[in-house]
């Protein structure tokens, strides 16, 4: 039992930083990120062998942490908490004309379903290629492209409406 615990502590020391960075990126608040990191790792540690596979561990961590933290934002938003208002920071690789108003685009993000949010965050916040998002989420490249196109179309529509 003690060996099990020390192995868990070692894995947490190795992979905890990646979870924490992911949570910090999405939640934009160190306190919330700290709590979310623990909650995410408590989920991850239940499959210890998966955590030990350095080839596949990072996409898995990324997926679980992203879903958890986006869910946290959605719940906080529903409760009207301040944390939900902390805007996501878009990746440098996102062309400036993708969103005329980036902050509005971030607000619009919260109106989409979980899968679309994860795709949009992967591409627009993390600067991932669509192929990379597809691999991480276990979706086809085509599905990722479709969800992203739908998100962008609706986001632009919302932005146009807000300006008119």
């Amino acid at each position: 039992m003690s060996e099990h615990r020390s192995k868990a502590a070692e894995l947490y020391r190795t992979h905890g930083p990646a979870v924490y960075r992911r949570c910090l990126r999405i939640l934009r608040d160190p306190e919330a990120a700290r709590d979310a990191t623990q909650e995410v790792f408590v989920k991850l540690i239940r499959d210890m062998s998966k955590l030990e596979d350095r080839e596949t561990v990072l996409p898995w961590i990324y997926r679980v942490a992203t879903n958890h933290c986006l869910n946290h934002r959605r719940n906080a938003s529903r409760r009207g908490e301040d944390a939900a208002a902390a805007p996501l920071e878009l990746a440098d690789s996102v062309p400036p004309d993708t969103f005329p108003d980036r902050q509005l685009a971030q607000l619009i993000l919260s109106r989409f379903d979980a899968a679309t949010q994860t795709v949009a965050v992967g591409v627009l916040v993390d600067g991932m290629e669509q192929e990379e998002v597809a691999e991480v989420l276990g979706l086809s490249r085509r599905t990722v492209a479709r969800k992203l196109a739908r998100f962008l179309e609706q986001a632009r529509h919302q932005v146009d409406r807000s300006w008119s």
Binding site: H4, A8, P17, R21, Q38, P59, G127
Partner: protein, 251 residues
Amino acid sequence: MTARCPSDLALERHLLSPERSTLTAHLAACPACAARLQTMQRQGEEFLRYVYPATVEAVEAAAASGPSGAVRWLRWLALVPALGAAAALALFLAFPSAPPDDYLGIKGGGALGLTVFVQEGANARPVRDGETVPAGAALRFRVRTARACRLWVLSVDGRGQVSRLYPTQGEGGAVLERTADLPGGALLDGLAGPERVVALCAPEALPWAGAEAAVRAAFPAPGPEPVRRGAVVAGLPAGAAQDAVLLEKRP
């Protein structure tokens, strides 16, 4: 720099296995990515310095509980600020001012006495030594001391799992100067079987590792019977006092 900058995930791969990274050339030539990487490294250090020590216990407990039996020990100090002021006040008002005369949780007139309370609705009821409690019960604790000391509260169960209950953070143990109702609470893990709550209080700071090792040594073999029989925790500093209360968890 014309090549597309790597994603966060690609940078994570680089940090995990730099010797296998294909990003080295890009990072050397792209100041923006080098700066991102530095920020990520700083955040990693922040995790190891502040987040890891405060949360590793919960992760270890989850690992020890296995895939289905989620351990739900709460981080006590984190629980208290989460309560609204009114709710916190109600909880403390419901706390009995003194244990009943026939209460057996504080045994004898020793230098240290531990009282375990089980939350029942809005009230907290003291538990007798060996009493059956719901396997997922919420607990609170009172500790009485005859002199100032450094306190640890731990528990050991039939699987041999030792859990750190109070304080959940820091080294050396909490300073205890008199009888105190400890802040926060804890939830049992929902698994049936005995669980012995142990309070240790030493005249000087007692490192957590020492307290944990002493309790593990007192219960070297997992199994319900050693937990039920109980044992004196040996190897503590001179003048250290101890007390324990046995709970029988029933689903």
